[in-house]
Every structure is written in C-alpha cells, then in structure tokens.
C-alpha cells in the first residue's frame, strides 16, 4: 500500500489512501504529471529566425532627423530597369549611377539617372538615362524623351563635364556594352557623338571621370573597366541555388585613358586612346571606383582605381607616363595585406590632420577602409581605430559621400548599402526578388575623434532597406547643404533633402572659368579663418558610378568670419588665386581672374 504524507496535519502521518479527498487529489496530480510529460509546458519555443539581418538594431543607434525622402513630392518617379526578375546576370547586381548637373543652363540643378535595361543584351536598345529638369518652383519634370539619351547596352555609370568648352555640360555613359559620349546643345538635348569622337571602349565599363590630365584646358576621359563577363555564366550559392556571380569568376580587364585633342574647326571633339602609351592599360584590374587628383602633390594628375577583390591601383603620373605605385604607397590593400572588394570612393580629411584621406566601400565581412593620406602621397590604413569600421562590417557599401551635415566643422560620412549576393546571415525572404539583397543605408556623424552611427528615421536615408548603389550629392534647393540622389537596383530612385539642423556656420563655393566657359573640375579651394582653414577639391566623380554637383561645401563650426579664400586651378597647379573673404552662410561664385592676388603655390598648396 502506498502511503502519502501530508503536511497539513503538521507532520502527523496520515494515510491519504483512506482520505476522502484522495480521489480528487490523485486526479489532479495525475493530470499535472501527464500534462507536463506531454510537453505542453514548453521548455523552448520553435526557432524564429531573424529577418532583420545582422548589424546594430535600430533602437540601439542614435536617432536624429537628417534627411527626408522628397522624391515623390518633387516629381521624381524613376524606377531602375534591371531586367527580368528571373535573371541572375551579373550586371544586374551592380546597379547604375546618377548625376547632378545643370543640363539646360538655367543655374538650377537637374538630375540624371542611368538605366540598366530590360535584358542583359549588348544589342538592347532603349532609354539609357532619364533626365529630370528642375523648374523654378523646385519641381522636376521628366525630360527623358526629349533628351536624346538613347542607345544600346546595359547602363552603368555617368561622367559629366564640358568637354568642348562651349559652356554646357556633356555626358559620358559607361555600360555593359559600348560606352556613349553625348554632347549637349545647351538646353538639355544630347547628341550621340561617340563614333565621331574616336572613343572606342567595348568592354564592361563602370566608373568614368572627366579630368584635365595634361593641363591643356581640355577635359580628358578616364574609364574604369570591370571584368571580362560571359553572359549566361551559371553561379550558385553554397546551397546550390542560383545566385549572382562575383568578380572572382572572371578575368579582369584594362582601364582606359582617352586624351581630348580639343574641338576641331567643325566643332567636333576628338579623343585619342592613350591607354597603352600612358601605361595604365599595362595591368588589368576589376575596377569599380575612380579618383583623379594629384596624390603626390607634384602638380600632375594621378589616377586611383578601386579594384573589386584585387589590389587597388594608384597610377602616378610623370610627364604623361603612369606607374602603379599603390603597393609602395600603401593604398593597394588593407593593413593586413589583404585585397578587398573595393567599390565606392570618397576623398576628405577624415583624420583631422588637414591632409586628404581616401575611403573605399567594401563587401559585408570587410570594413569600409580608411587610408590616411600624408603630404607625400603615402597612405596608412587606420580603419580599426574608427567605429564606422565595425559598424559597417555587416553591410555591403557602394556609393559613399562625405559632407558636414551639421556644419560643426567635421566631415560626416554617408554610405549607400545593398548586397550583391543573398544575405547569408538573414532568413531568406519570399516577398520579391531583391528583398534578399536589400539592406539599410548608414550615416556616420563625426563626434570628436570618431564617427557615430546615426538613424534618421523611417522616411530618412537610413529608413528603407533597399539595394542601393549610386549616390550623388547636390544642393538642389540651394539652402546651403548637400542633398542626396540615390539609385536602387531594380527599384525607385530616392531624393533625400537635407533637413539637418545646422549647429555652425557654412560656406558653399562654386567656381567658374570665364575663359573656358566652364566650371573647373579638380580645382582646390581653401577657406581661411584666423585660427583654421579648410580645404576641398572639386571632385565630382567619386562615390559609385555617379557624379556630384561641382561645388564644395564647408562646415565652419563656430567660425563666422573668414580672412580669404584661395583657389588652385587645375591647369595652373603652381599658382594660387586669392579671393576676398566672403561672408559665411551663403553660396558664392568665384570667377577665375577676379581674385585680389595671384601668387606661386607652396608645395602644400598644390592640389
């Protein structure tokens, strides 16, 4: 017989089997035991896999209003054509770029957005880019049909510049397919002059830049070429599912340099291919980003190519011949000696030592690398010392820009993110082809000696998770800060108006060269106050496949009084033109030749 003891009788042994309450107690006990044995009391719930992806949770990131998406409000309705949603052709994953430009000479910024195509077909004919002209009321109208920007191939990037010195900006479109050069009639109507120009680039090109390589006053053309892609190549992920190929699956190709021979008597522009004679075609690469500037401060323009999965190239010019010195100058690989997936580029003083540094965006699993520059043109990887390195690790960065968002005197960083392969760290999506590749963008605010990630809300730049690629800066509303134009692979383009609160003073400088009737790309502007100075170069071709407004913006912090502004013009690198100090908190146009003084430049002043 089983005896149960009850404490209710304070230790007295009671034969519960004889108790009247025993049957009820027994029933209850049995029920509890059976219920618990059957697992109804769950020890652990079934797995719920995160669909948010890795990286900091939004709640842990500092919240602050910076940008507002106003695309719809201003009439921007561009959707990037990226071909069939069932296709995994490589160019689809690389997206296309965008540009800010004054296409019709009305001194208002217009937008150009490069389109991909319906199919990955070199013979595919279509609207290669959409052009939106800005009206006086700030609205944009779609001028694409009238623009003449049609052609064949799959559109990638854009370079903007006045190549015939007639006072209006012309366009070069890079492609998977034959590139195109379009000349502007001054009113936003473009004519394809590729054949007449002598430019032949049959390979898959990505970034492009107009720059005056030989200081002859005519803009030359540098083109980054990517990989020798074979359409139809089948690539799969580790689970056997088809996915986009990567650069490691193909050979690299050579980059190009086309020298502008100047306009002929018939008004036509002519270019000559100097890729081989200059030396830059000697080493193939897989280039996605370009920076053209005088890296070693000898007065000559050099060229940096960001290579995807391979060492970068830094071609140093000496009298028209280029030598790749990326390795010995420390800009080829990261501090561990490893090649990375180098994509978008930006130049600025990020280390606070008044020397321009170089920052390049990378794949997830790699940090966006910051190379600190010195006055000799050498670089040192200092990524590990900044928080944005770790914060960017889970993301794949493409377009990148730097601007002083709050005008406190420190450059802030803005990165457009989007994966190129399915996100392995996230539960796979079932709602839409691009969802597996989408991720949010990032803003990093300069705070003392580091950068702090910022979240500007659901309708801000960091709000939506998309497959972002191109990123271009331009002050379209002329309120003294840079706004952002963003392209998304297979998705809507975004226009983010800068609504950040200015905590300090600022100055925007636009340059004009009345002799050549064009803005001057590559000029260096230095704004001087009593205790400080700020420098920036007119580099419109950085970021990814995109082109910025050709102005420079300075956040001045508490400084409200300037002493002067100095400009080193790109074709006279050894001269400095000094302009009278403007008032702060405005945009000024500095016209070449109207300065108060011209003097020889010191070594430090040479751009």
């Amino acid at each position: 017989m089983i005896t149960f003891q009850s404490r209710q009788n304070h230790g007295t042994t009671v034969d519960l089997a004889k108790s009247r309450s025993f049957p009820v107690l027994h029933l209850v006990l049995s029920t509890v035991v059976v219920w618990s044995s059957s697992g109804c009391i769950q020890e652990e719930s079934a797995p719920t896999l995160s669909n948010d992806g890795p990286g900091k949770s939004e709640s842990s990131i500092r919240q602050r209003k910076v940008f507002t998406d106003v695309a719809k409000a201003v009439g921007l309705s561009f959707v990037h054509r990226a071909g069939s949603s069932q296709s995994y052709e490589f160019p689809r994953s690389m997206g296309s770029g965008c540009a800010w430009l004054d296409a019709n000479g009305d001194h208002r910024l217009d937008m150009l957005l490069v389109n991909g195509g319906e199919e990955i077909d070199i013979g595919n004919i279509g609207q290669m880019a959409s052009l939106y002209l800005q009206n006086p009321d700030g609205q944009f109208i779609d001028f694409s049909k009238e623009s003449g920007l049609t052609g064949t191939g799959y559109g990638m990037g854009v370079a903007v510049g006045d190549i015939d010195n007639d006072g209006d900006v012309d366009i070069y479109l890079t492609k998977y397919g034959a590139d195109q050069l379009f000349l502007n009639d001054g009113e936003g109507h473009f004519t394809d002059e590729t054949q007449e120009s002598g430019i032949v680039n049959p390979q898959w090109s990505t970034a492009a830049a107009f720059t005056d390589i030989n200081h002859d006053g005519w803009l030359d053309l540098v083109v980054a070429n990517y990989v020798d892609y074979f359409p139809g190549t089948f690539c799969a992920d580790a689970g056997g599912r088809q996915d986009f190929c990567g650069p490691q699956d193909f050979h690299g190709t050579s980059n190009r340099l086309f020298m502008n021979l100047g306009s002929s008597e018939d008004g036509k522009v002519r270019f000559e291919d100097h890729s081989a004679t200059s030396g830059i075609a000697a080493e193939p690469g897989k280039s996605l980003g370009i920076v053209c500037r005088d890296f070693n401060y000898d007065g000559e323009i050099d060229i940096f190519f960001a290579n995807d999965g391979e060492p970068n190239q830094l071609w140093i010019q000496r009298n028209g011949t280029f030598t790749n010195e990326a390795v010995i100058r420390g800009a080829a690989v990261n501090r561990f000696g490893e090649s990375e997936a180098n994509m978008g580029t930006v130049v600025g003083d990020f280390c606070g030592d008044a020397e321009p540094d170089l920052l390049v965006t990378h794949l997830s699993g790699e940090m966006n690398t910051l190379w600190q520059g010195d006055s000799n043109g050498n670089f040192r990887d200092r990524t590990s010392e900044f928080q944005f390195g770790s914060d960017g690790l889970p993301f794949t960065g493409f377009g990148i820009v730097a601007t002083d968002l709050d005008c406190d005197g420190g450059l802030d960083l803005i990165v457009a993110n989007g994966k190129v392969k399915r996100d392995r760290h996230r539960k796979h999506a079932t709602d839409g082809f691009w969802t597996d590749y989408a991720e949010r963008n990032q803003i990093f605010l300069r705070v003392e000696d580091d950068f702090q990630e910022l979240n500007d809300g659901t309708d801000g730049f960091c709000g939506p998770a998309e497959v972002s690629r191109g990123l271009a800066m331009g002050d379209f509303d002329r309120d003294g800060d840079f706004d952002l134009l963003v392209t998304n692979a297979g998705g809507m383009a975004r226009l983010y108006r800068n609504d950040s609160e200015k905590t300090g003073h600022w100055l925007t400088v636009a340059l004009q060269d009345s002799k050549r009737q064009r803005t001057v790309l590559g000029a260096r502007v230095t704004v001087i106050a009593d205790a400080r100075q700020w420098s920036a170069e007119v580099l419109t071709h950085t970021s990814y496949l995109s082109s910025h407004e050709p102005t420079v913006h300075f956040g001045l912090g508490a400084v409200s009084v300037l002493t002067s502004v100095e400009v080193v013009w790109p074709d006279e690198p050894l001269m400095v033109e000094v302009f009278a100090a403007p008032a702060t908190d405005q945009r000024v146009d500095l016209i070449r030749g109207s300065g108060i003084e011209r003097r020889a430049a010191s070594v430090e002043e040479v751009p």
Binding site: H26, Q42, A238, G239, R241, V327, N378, H425
Partner: protein, 412 residues
C-alpha cells in the same frame, strides 16, 4: 454494494493507484520518446530551392535529432547548415547544442567563426568563452587575436597572437598578423624579421607571400634587402596557406562541393592534360548543374583534345542549340570546326560568338588566325584593330600588327 461503498473499498482504491501509476509511466515514456515541437522546424526554417543532395542531408540530420536529440545531433545539423551558408539556421542549431552541452566549446567556437563576418565584438566574446573551457587550440587564440586587431585592440591582439604563435610552431599566418602589428607600432625591423620567417616557412602559400611582399614594400630598407625566397620556388607553393588546425571545423568542412570548386578542379586537370579525370569532373559538374553551359563547353573541348572531334562537335552543337546566347559555346564550336579544317563554318560560328560578345578577345584572335590562313587580309586587318581596341597594351599583338602592315604594304 453501493457505488459509494464500491469506491471506498480498499481493494478498489489500491487498484486505482496501480492503474494510475501505470498510466503515468506509459504517458511519460511516450512523451519522452516523442516531444512535439522540439525537433520539428517551422516550414520556413529552410529556404526553397536547395539542391536535392542538400535537402536529403538535412532530412537525415533531422531524423537523427528526432531519434536521439542531443548536442551532437543538433550540432551536426548546425554544421551542415554552416557548411552550406544557411547561417541563421546554423546559429539556432549551435545555440541549441550549446544549451544541451554547455561545457562543450565546439558550438561556441563555431558561433564565433560565423560572428567574425558581422560582429567582431561578439566573435571575441565567443572566443573568450571558448578559452574559458579549453585553451589548448591554437586556432582560437589566432582568430581571437585577428578579431581584436580588426577592432583596434592592438595590445590584446598581440598577446593573443603571441600565444597562437607559440602553440602553432610559429605558423606563417600568425607571424604575418604579428608583423602587421609591428608595422603599426612603427617597428619595421621586427616586422621584417617576422615576415621573412613567415615567407620562408614551408607551410606558407602564395597568398602569404603576396601579402608579405606588399607589407614589406612599404617599409624603408634600413638594412639588407629581405631574403625572400626566389620566385621560382613560388610555383611549388600552394595557392592558399592552410589555416591552423581547427578540429572543431571538421564537421563543417565535410560539405557538398560548390560548383566553382568542381569547375576549378576540372579546369586544373584539363590544363595539366589529365583529360580522363577532367572529363569525369566536368560530367560531375554537369550532374550538379545541368544549366551550367560552361561545363558542357569545356567537356566538349576536352573531348576534342583527346581526339574525339566528332563527339565534341555533336556535344557543342547541342550546347549552341540549348544556350543560343552563349558566346563561349559558339566560340568553342568555331574552334572545333577550325580543327576539322572547315574554315567557313568556323568563321560563321566565331562571328556569332563576337556578335553575342563583341569584346570576346579569344574569339577575335581565332578569327584573326583563320583570316590570315585564308589570306583574307582586309578581314584580318579589321580583326587586328578590334583586338587592339580590346587589349591595347598587348605588345605582342602590336608587333604582329606592325609586321602584318609591313607585309601588306610590300605585297601592295
């Protein structure tokens, strides 16, 4: 006997007790054997479209869990997921395994390895936890040191790497990482010594040699130039340096081969003229991915190289029909037709190849060769120009064109 008296009888109460105990025991046994919700995954746990072989392996692993849920069986499924880059699923399995066997460092280590890609702080924390359980694996110290270096904790990184070096007989990967830290500390001489030691180690692959050269190139040569091994010796090195021994990664290493790896193996065998083995490898690749036209292409080309020209042509013809946008297929067909002496057919195939891919340098070269053989000089001249536009820095091609133009001038 009344119902009340029936229930209250001692014998009856005794019988009820026995019955209850027996019922409880039966229910408990059943529920221990089958626990609904603990080995079943929600349907959305695994994505659609995984290869059949992987799906089978996953099903087997799940059955093992259902039969005998344990840290080992959960971990095995996690390893399978990790090997095939189903990382959220792997993470869940490893956490489950770790909860069942908290003193087993394996699962925490694997979580750390996965975290390295996205959260270095978490990775370091995982490795710290592993080391609290087992300090005997050099790879843990190395990975921890590398992660610490990447987040700027250089002193901690150095300590970890020194430990790893001592435990791994000065493994070249560890020495390279230490050299990088020395460079950062401004001690170029010490860095140089470490780099030389790394490069001269027989375990070092070409990757270490290349990266070491780049690190060294930045250092001022204060003393004698580095005694790097001659470049001829590099050809004997493996492409990649083998990582420090990682016994806990063995399960992850046992995974289905990726198509790229199989393709690389096949290409390597073909280039070494091990044609039989290459054919088998391409056939294996085709079985993995029937849509892989490249595999069909190269299979046909290897057939041609082994003398089976007709068979090669038949195969490549099928590829052209099945993949009409595949420039490589048409180029391969042209190469086979040229081999057979059918130059007009070869020209047609190659022209289709360059129509599909205008920058197809090899196809243009093949066309150039045929035009020159056939004395079609205008066409040859056009091909030279096209090729020089594609590969402007090709000096040999430039020289050939110069010679071609001279010969043409003489004959005119």
């Amino acid at each position: 006997m009344s119902a009340r008296s029936l229930f209250t009888s001692r014998r009856l109460r005794f019988a009820v007790c026995i019955f209850s105990v027996a019922a409880i025991a039966v229910v408990a046994t059943i529920s221990l054997w089958w626990r609904p919700g603990s080995s079943e995954f929600p349907p959305e746990m695994f994505p659609e479209g995984l290869s059949e072989a992987l799906q089978e392996d996953i099903a087997l692993a799940r059955q093992r869990i259902a039969r005998a849920p344990s840290a080992g069986s959960w971990g095995a499924l996690g390893e399978l997921c990790m090997a095939h880059e189903l990382l959220p699923q792997a993470e869940w399995c490893f956490r489950k395994a770790s909860s069942l066997a908290p003193d087993d460092p394996r699962w925490i280590y694997l979580l750390g390895v996965m975290a390295e890609e996205v959260d270095l702080v978490q990775a370091v924390a995982s490795y710290d936890q592993v080391l609290s359980l087992d300090r005997s694996v050099a790879a843990v110290h190395f990975r921890r040191g590398r992660a610490l270096a990447r987040v700027g904790r250089f002193e901690d990184a150095e300590q970890a790497l020194v430990t790893a070096a001592n435990m791994s007989e000065q493994h070249p990967l560890v020495l390279k990482a230490m050299a990088q830290l020395r460079i950062m500390q401004g001690d170029g001489d010490a860095a140089r010594v470490l780099i030389e030691q790394a490069v001269n180690d027989g375990r070092a692959g070409l990757d270490v040699v290349e990266e070491a050269k780049r690190l060294l190139a930045r250092q001022p040569q204060q003393n004698a130039p580095p005694t790097m091994p001659p470049s001829e010796a590099d050809s004997a090195r493996p492409q990649m340096t083998q990582m420090l021994p990682e016994p806990w990664l063995d399960g992850v290493a046992r995974r289905l081969p990726r198509n790229g790896e199989v393709a690389a193996q096949a290409d390597s065998l073909a280039s070494q003229q091990h044609y039989k083995a290459a054919l088998e490898m391409y056939e294996r690749l085709i079985r993995i991915e029937d849509r892989n036209s490249r595999a069909h292409n190269f299979h046909a080309m290897v057939l041609m190289n082994t003398g089976n020209v007709q068979q090669a042509l038949a195969e490549i013809q099928k590829v052209c029909e099945e993949f009409p946008q595949d420039a490589l297929a048409f180029s391969s067909r042209g190469a086979i037709e040229a081999q057979m002496g059918n130059f007009s057919a070869a020209i047609e195939s190659l022209q289709e190849a360059v129509r599909l891919k205008p920058d197809f340098a090899d196809a243009h070269r093949a066309l150039l060769m045929i035009y020159q053989l056939q004395k079609m000089t205008d066409q040859a001249d056009a091909q030279f120009r096209i090729l020089l536009a594609i590969v402007p820095a090709d000096r040999e091609l430039q020289a050939q064109y110069a010679a071609f133009q001279r010969d043409r001038g003489r004959s005119n």
